[in-house]
Assembly symmetry: C2
Homo-oligomer: 87 residues x 2
């Protein structure tokens, strides 16, 4: 499955979230990660995030889809971690 994760995390925890997500996915933009993951890896990612974030202060949105083919990605301006697509 393909997963896009977008987060808004307190500065005290944001680096921990970044380091954790880097072990599973690709860093795309300041607070965006993407990647093809297995179902069990997906569960691991969710439980890892749950253990790091503060539910009352932080916010994580997880978009999951069958494959990367489910969407088109376009980038405008600075491309921090290029994968593909220019608008």
């Amino acid at each position: 499955m393909y997963v896009i994760i977008v987060y808004d995390i307190n500065v005290d925890r944001v680096n921990k979230v970044k380091s954790f997500l880097r072990t599973h996915m690709h860093w795309i933009q300041n607070s965006v990660f993407e990647g093809e993951v297995t179902k069990s890896e997906f569960e691991e990612i969710k439980s890892g995030l749950r253990s790091i974030i503060n539910k009352k202060e932080d916010s994580v949105i997880i978009y999951s889809m069958r494959s990367e083919k489910a969407f088109k990605r376009g980038v405008m301006g600075v491309e921090k971690a290029p994968i593909n697509g220019i608008l």
Copy 2:
């Protein structure tokens, strides 16, 4: 079509981007908007963003897909602008 926009914009321009996107889409998280838009509205959004951002400093990622059914959305922690889905 359904569109998810994630941005990382310099503080000097971020409110302008937010106000502009609010006229077309739903605010989901600090720097995330989503919405069902027509193809012409999509073009309008892209050209509007192009005119606001600084291509050398700002970054906008646009995910577009056929419909909202193409993905599942889950939210962990604070849900700033609830649509659906709890993980």
